[in-house]
């Protein structure tokens, strides 16, 4: 498989996955662009792997988790972080805000937990595959999902009580 074939077949799916990870289409584009540039520059290594798509998904996930962990010279903050106390609505209509509460709670989760939830509930991957993508043990994946769901449930209970 060539890089062009891979990009034609999988770029849209990777972009959707990145939107679920970041929660923002612009950040998703940046994330996919950076990842796919590295994929194209190192295509021989990617193509040699057993499953190139899984390899690229792993690269993308790690890039998302390590987004701010790089050198200080590469950090570019063009806008401030949203105030954690005030969830940022994605729609002006109140009904949409209510409906998207879970989306804003997701954005407050640690990145690894959010990635785990996306891989489980959006990509429907089994624990073993999630563990392979995240480079951790299956038990770690389960505890990560459990903690993330507990956080979301606590938020849910707090709002609806």
């Amino acid at each position: 498989m060539t890089y062009e074939e891979f990009a034609d077949a999988r770029l849209s799916a990777l972009l959707r996955y990145a939107v679920m990870l970041t929660g923002d289409p612009h950040q998703a584009q940046d994330l996919v662009q950076e990842t796919m540039v590295r994929v194209q520059l190192n295509w021989r290594r990617v193509a040699r792997s057993d499953a190139p798509e899984r390899y690229v998904r792993r690269m993308l996930t790690n890039q998302f988790i390590d987004w701010r962990r790089g050198s200080w010279a590469r950090r570019v903050l063009l806008r401030g972080e949203p105030d954690e106390a005030v969830p940022v609505p994605t729609d002006h209509a109140q009904s949409a805000v209510d409906r998207d509460q879970i989306w804003s709670w997701l954005s407050q989760l640690p990145r690894r937990q959010r990635a785990t939830l996306v891989l489980r509930y959006y990509e429907d991957l089994p624990d073993a595959e999630i563990a392979e993508i995240l480079g951790c043990a299956v038990g770690t994946v389960r505890s990560c999902i459990s903690r993330a769901l507990a956080t979301l449930r606590a938020e849910y209970v707090e709002v609806h009580s």
Binding site: A7, V19, Q33
Partner: protein
Amino acid sequence: MIEDDLRAAFARHEALTPPAGPLRAAIDRTVVRRRRRRLRVRLAGTAMAVVAAALTGFTVAAPQHREAGHLLADPAAAAPAPAGAVNVLLVGGVGNAPRQVRRADRAGGGGVGVVWK
């Protein structure tokens, strides 16, 4: 229940996904830029390595000019013994020098030069 809400939220937000066409073009442009930058860095590194190797080679292989001095005590000197008077220049300290210096002088630390004339 929260799991179902999560699935529903993900499904709703699929509509946020931007089109892939412009992104593909941006990726290709960035790759071209980075390949050029890599090539420039590689060429600069190669040029520096070549210059360093040339300098090292010149330093090692260049002929070194040493002028052999004519010394009285040099047994290898093939100069004929002077037939006339010999002027000898002695270089050394005088009596006002500190004590330690005088001692060093006595122990052979001072310099004595001999000049043929």
